[in-house]
Symmetry: C2
Subunit: 930 residues, 2 copies
């Protein structure tokens, strides 16, 4: 979509877009039937027609072509809009004349006359740009009415109430939408009229009431605009057309385009269409409907309609609408015709449709159709169903479901059934997905205290959040704020830590002194339960049960199967334990891209042995501890190899700094102080002895912890540096790997071990470790009498390793990008400190578009990766390259990995399905771009 | 020098060097007079002749050509050596025959006969490779003697003592050097002979004694070699020639070549030369001399000689030598001839010469000449003098003095005069330059305690050092170890921290229990004073005064002026204060490349204001503190601009994290605990009040310090991150810069301010700061009614900034590489933790060749820099690029900076002279390579 700019600038607005005067014979106006003319004007592409006539105009033209009953009308092109704006708000030559001629054509088609008193033609006027966007001019209905015509119509229809209802709507809409009269001025008239008439609803008002209202509306119009309501229908049409054009450059429209990344030089079209009346009696109706269930994806149309109403009433929610199916009871013919048309439209657009319709005296008219919005669950089911219905190809189905939608199947969701009985109390921006249920806490300290000390589930509610609030946000289930937008502190932090969040709930008034919040007339106290739907941005009162949607959803599995057929990028998983490996395989992983051996060291029964190893006073003591660890590690690897029979398993040697395995400095100081106090109260020798002995041990720990302390542990003695300084540790781990591999192979397992060295910055580090590894591997294989094929490779997670990848590849048979550390070092930031700190401010101020720990920074980190891949493959053409950082599960990053030719991405087992789909998208995108 | 390999391997030794059989008519042997033949053989280059005949052989040939009296002789080529080794220790065809023919030629020239009894010709045999290297075969003198010839010579010379002294020397040297007989076996014979004769020195032994000694030597020879001493002079010559060839592949020679990076396939030549006798009576002498003073560079020959002695006696130190000048009294003709020859050789070689000479019966012979070794001081003076004498060009003078030699003028040195009266007790490896004087401490804790608590000056003395010793090394003035080599822990750490050090002093026996060290018969106790000369690796007893050589040395200044004419790379200095700027200018800096504004914040009177700024509860409080800082900072910049009138001054906005300005966490906790204890003892209300108030303040500090604490402060909220988060701070600094600049300009100063933003990783950070800066700059300039030209630029010290330099250069008008941080992030290491930690082990194990914080890592960090320069200049061709990290003063790094086209390097004012010379070297090297 070339019209979508990455960073739109206001300077690119019409006027500054190189507009040139157009020939006077240019066609500006297209009847809905003029498909060929429109196609010819843009060189035949339907996308061009959509650009020329806007989405709505193109849709109406398309429906007309298919013989679907669409009220006749025409579209003034986006080119006309651009010309109008460029020429200082003047219609381009010939445009108005074409519009007048088009009106004549409609008159012919309808047998009615615009501005005529015989059979008056009324029209609607709507804006319609290429991309649907709020902030532009709304609809003006019933254009063409004035006092005289109203009287004629009243005579013709014999329904004075109907006509003056139309007339007052025209003045209200024209006044507010075209002339900017505050809508409240009109509303107050109706309200007082209802009071005077002693009725509760508009539908109870009589013809006479609407006549009075119409008169008052004209007075309001005059008062505000200092001119009379235009009685000339053509004047009405002209002003409405201009109003649409001008609304393209309204503040809200520009803001929206800036935010959505839509180019400012597209312009909007204007759609003029014959009015049909759903409010002309009980054989008339108006409604909206989806061709399938937008929640579940079931092949069952759903919708709402109102008998005897005009379109806007359905949306306004003044009257209780009826479900679509009941139309079958009232107007079965229209209902059946609608079903037929819905089916036809689905076939035509090869997608679920969202339609507006009106029934005028039993005759069905379609006013709009567009692809319907739907839940992730529905998206998947519809895509799969449509393939099976022959409507779309597998590739299209795969392309249609966005990887982020698979996320839905992973997060807990509010239970759909329970929701029906629940009270939605507010809505805001859906900035972080998932469901959260908890008790309201109005500040971070309370949230943290309740969560940590009392084990309560908490929703933190604040007007907005600041960096000081992060500890509360982390302790909470979810976050709710009354202020802020998609890039507010709350939104960014919530997304970064995977907390469901709803922000910018404007109707929420938080009173921190009274510890309560007020929504309209509802007051909710601190400690009360609420539930958040982060997917939709909804807030519910009470404790709504949650469900985890089934990742093994049959439709999803089918779709992912098709994705696998498309993708070329492998999807592996990060797994430390056999059970994780098992799950990864179930989700479709094709190998283990990262087994973090040190995770096993933290297990309760092992940690003391690891600590003995660290505290060892000499190599003998160290080896004693390592000897105890050996069989345990061997067992870990054995399980992993068996689980991944026939697939590669990348095992990374120990990575974190040793102090992580010891108690913290603060903890030890505290314990020693306590022990010394206790000592004073002990009396028996054995008590004192025991305490002294613990003091001795703890003091030794303290000394070691102090010695291991580093100013910047992230950049300290970890990774390969540790393996080089403590070669015995490397030897033990390698021995465990090869003993397990040999045994598995003897047992008939197809083992494919790959040993990975972390954190290298120089090929020489790899050489040292290779020598150590080869010696042990050879030794073990000779002991066991088995030859195991293995690979030796390295993480690329330090800029220097990437920059010297040609040298590194001389030793390494594979690379695996550790993009977490690579991002930290390439940016010079510490994730621990930055992510809830200045990075948030950076995103809010648009210094960074995205959190580089969430989505890979292509310009910097990505450039290093691309260099490393190219240089590495130059040295070793069959170099296996993957990514095992957290980015490996991020769709945008996966697309990049595909582009630079990685062999695989490796991510958390839970994200394997997302990655499979994202990899397929990357392959399809490449295909499309060719 | 293409023969010098970077990483020599033993596999490259002769035999594996692709040797091919040579034509039988090939010339292997060259008489000293065969200059044309030698030049023809190598295509005319003198460097080729040196490769063919070795340095010594080429020198003898060269002197012969100049008509200087050189005893006739010939050289067997290095090609012959390689052929010999390649053919399994067989002379190549024709070689021996050519050697025999050459002997005949010598016989003609001297009128003597080799192996003849008429007028016997004796010869010496010496090895000589292209590069001078120890570990190969030493000299064998007096070849050609046997019993019969000895008797003849005794008759001819009428000096039996002289002849048998020659004869015993032949057997001794031939035995030990050619046949490997332990020298001690011979020495013991002489010693017992002296005892028997009742004399103290060899010169008191009579002819008869030497006859006995000669007989005994032959017996020892037979006992050890199981063969008789060869009585055939040609056999002697042949064996000696072979021994030289074989010594090329001796263990020590190979080790030396590996260490020095000399190729293993060069081979050695063999020099056979007529013996002349300095021991043939009191009209004979032998000596060594330099053509100028090697210590001071004064144009005054210096040397030593012995009357009636053979060359080896001068070096052996058995007899007290006489200073060269005294030769004038004894043999004025020979002395004057020597002066003439020395002058001639200097002119010829255009360098100070180190010569060996012998006077035989009043006739002067030159045996060797080579460029003389000299001190840095002498190097500079000689280079400058020789330019003024018209001997060399300015460029040659510049090229001849190594940048590291300028270092000499910066470090304290042991006082030369005082040294004469001091006792040198030992020598070792000179691994870190400068002089250190202090009391011996035998462990790190003692060293630290003495230095810190008692303020004593300490020399830490250990058998070797370990990482645990670093605190002691840092506290000490210098380090002395008995073990270890150039890459030992002690050597590496000493160099890294600039501590003078002597290591590997083998004669040193340290007894840690007795707290003493023994050197021979000397015992030195802990606490005794010693002095180290790190330049030469000498250890002296006692407290020797030190002097700082004058960096304003007139010769040095002249030389640096010439360097300036040659170099294209600018040399700027890092200076924070006007006094530093002043010094930098005096030393030749052309601008300030880095002014660290925050250094001024640490000054006593300012720190409390800075702390108030950090502790501010709101923007108003913060601004109050900043308002107080403004005039102070303005004053700093004002002084800097005035000092650098007409030159650019790069001012970097605040860089370090805020917590650095607050008391440490530990300090605050301690103080609070103390205060609370004190509180219990206070009685008056005012005392209590005061204590409580301090507690309140300290508690607030503690909270702030805790909030500012970061896990990895190096990667934390510092640099531009701070400037963005606290915009008021940026504004204050920019205002101070521009207020000062405007005022200076009004006062007629040519101000050239350049404002630099630290630690960016994204161009957007720069944009934000540019906007802030431009607003303030404009405001100030309008207030002051002055327009100041300035530049806006950035540090490049984060990999991402380098990787996106094209984008960064859209905003930045200049780059300055902060290679310290860039090295840290590119390697993923923290200098604080690594440099005395695993990096030492990495260097010891050759994983890293050099400390990347000392010399720039060209392969990684340098690659990023090169990319950044290229990409930056693509965007902005006139981009100014420099380096302001510590590497900016390192000669190797400066060479690289020249290569990648930087505009300047900026370093400490003290290193400016070194940088000027290094920059000139870089330009000359480029010129030479073209």
């Amino acid at each position: 979509m070339s019209e979508q700019l990455k960073t739109p600038t206001v300077a690119a607005q019409a006027g500054g877009n190189g507009y040139k005067p157009q020939p006077t014979n240019k066609k500006w106006v297209y009847l809905f039937g003029e498909v060929k003319e429109a196609e010819a004007a843009v060189g035949g592409s339907w996308d061009g027609v959509r650009a020329l006539l806007g989405g709505k105009g193109a849709g109406l033209m398309d429906m007309t072509r298919q013989g679907i009953p669409v009220p006749p009308g025409f579209t003034v092109s986006t080119e006309a809009c651009n010309a109008y704006l460029a020429e200082g708000n003047n219609f381009p030559p010939g445009m108005w004349e074409q519009e007048l001629a088009a009106v004549k054509e409609i008159e012919k088609l309808t047998g009615k006359t615009f501005g005529g008193t015989d059979n008056p033609l009324l029209v609607s006027c709507r804006s319609g740009a290429k991309f649907s966007m709020p902030g532009m001019m709304d609809t003006v209905l019933n254009i063409g009415l004035n006092d005289e015509i109203a009287e004629t119509m009243a005579r013709l229809t014999n329904d004075r109430r109907f006509v003056f209802d139309l007339y007052r709507r025209l003045i209200q809409m024209f006044g507010s939408v075209v002339m900017g009269v505050p809508d409240e001025a009109f509303e107050v008239v109706i309200t007082s009229r209802r009071e005077l008439a002693g009725v509760k609803t508009d539908s109870e008002l009589k013809a006479q009431d609407w006549e009075v209202v119409t008169r008052r509306f004209k007075e309001i119009y005059r008062t505000f605009t200092r001119s009379d309501f235009p009685i000339d229908p053509y004047e009405q049409l002209k002003l409405a057309t201009e109003a649409v054009f001008k609304s393209w450059n309204g503040r809200r429209a520009i803001d929206y385009r800036n935010a959505a990344g839509i180019a400012h030089d597209l312009g909007t079209a204007v759609n003029i269409q014959t009015m049909v009346y759903g409010n002309i009696g009980n054989n008339s109706a108006t409604g909206v409907a989806m061709s399938r269930d937008a929640s579940t994806g079931e092949k069952e149309p759903e919708g709402d309609f109102l008998v005897n109403a005009q379109g806007e009433d359905v949306v306004a929610g003044i009257r209780q609408t009826q479900p679509l199916q009941e139309l079958n009871d009232i107007m079965p013919a229209a209902y059946n015709e609608f079903l037929t048309i819905a089916g036809k439209l689905e076939k035509h657009y090869r997608n679920m449709q969202d339609m507006e319709f009106t029934i005028e005296n039993g005759k069905l008219w379609l006013l709009q159709t567009r692809d319907g919005k739907r839940t992730a669950q529905a998206e998947v089911k519809i895509a799969v169903d449509m393939v099976e219905e022959g409507l779309i190809t597998k590739e299209e189905a795969v392309w249609r479901v966005k990887p982020a939608q698979v996320d839905f199947f992973l997060h807990p969701q509010l239970d759909r059934e329970a929701l029906k009985a629940s009270k939605k109390i507010a809505s805001g921006l859906n900035v972080s997905p998932g469901a959260a249920v908890g008790m309201i806490a109005f500040d971070a300290d309370t949230a943290e205290r309740w969560a940590k000390e009392d084990g309560r589930k908490v929703i933190m509610v604040r007007p907005e959040t600041k960096p000081d609030d992060v500890h509360g946000m982390l302790a909470a289930q979810g976050i709710l704020t009354s202020r802020g937008g998609r890039t507010s502190h709350a939104a960014l932090v919530a997304r970064q830590f995977g907390k469901p969040a709803v922000v910018g709930v404007m109707e929420l008034e938080i009173d921190l002194d009274l510890r309560q919040m007020v929504i309209g007339e509802l007051t909710v106290k601190e400690g009360d339960w609420i539930s958040l739907d982060g997917n939709l941005g909804h807030v519910y009162l009470g404790q709504i049960p949650t469900v985890v949607p089934d990742i093994k959803n049959a439709y999803l599995i089918k779709l992912l199967g098709w994705a696998d057929e498309v993708r070329t990028l492998g999807v592996w998983a990060n797994a430390d334990y056999p059970r994780d490996a098992q799950r990864a395989r179930e989700y479709g992983a094709q190998g283990i891209g990262l087994c973090r051996t040190e995770h096993m060291f933290f297990e309760t029964e092992r940690l003391p042995i690891v600590q003995n190893m660290i505290m060892a006073k000499n190599v003998t003591e160290r080896n004693e501890a390592l000897d105890k660890l050996l069989p345990l590690q061997r067992g870990d690897f054995d399980g992993l190899f068996r689980a991944m029979d026939g697939q590669p398993v990348i095992i990374r040697l120990i990575d974190p700094p040793l102090h992580e395995f010891l108690p913290s400095y603060e903890e030890l100081v505290q314990r020693l102080a306590d022990l010394k106090v206790q000592l004073q109260h002990f009396h028996t020798l054995s008590e004192i002895d025991e305490a002294l002995s613990e003091i001795r041990v703890k003091q030794a720990y303290l000394e070691r912890v102090e010695a291991l302390r580093e100013q910047n542990p992230m950049l300290g003695t970890r990774g390969v540096r540790l393996g080089i300084i403590i070669p015995e540790l490397t030897k033990m781990q390698v021995r465990a790997i090869f003993e397990a591999a040999c045994q598995c192979q003897k047992d008939g397992i197809d083992v494919q071990p790959e040993v990975m060295i972390p954190l290298i910055f120089h090929v020489n580090e790899l050489k040292v470790q290779q020598t150590a590894l080869e010696a042990v591997a050879k030794e073990v294989m000779e002991e066991q009498g088995v030859q195991v094929n293995y690979k030796f490779g390295t993480m690329i997670e330090i800029p220097r390793a990437a920059l010297t990848a040609d040298e590194v590849a001389e030793i390494a048979q594979f690379f695996s990008f550790g993009t977490n550390d690579l991002t930290q070092t390439t940016f010079g930031i510490s994730r621990d400190d930055a992510e809830a700190g200045f990075l948030v401010e950076y995103q809010q101020r648009n210094i960074l578009e995205e959190n580089p720990f969430g989505t890979l920074d292509v310009a910097g980190v990505g450039k290093l990766m691309k260099m490393a891949v190219e240089m590495g493959r130059k040295t070793r053409p069959d170099l296996e390259v993957g990514i095992c950082g957290e980015h490996g599960g991020d769709p945008k990053t996966i697309a990049f990995c595909h582009q630079i030719g990685l062999n695989y991405v490796s991510c958390s087992p839970f994200r394997v399905p997302i990655a499979r789909l994202a990899a397929a998208h990357a392959a399809l995108a490449e295909k499309k771009s060719k």
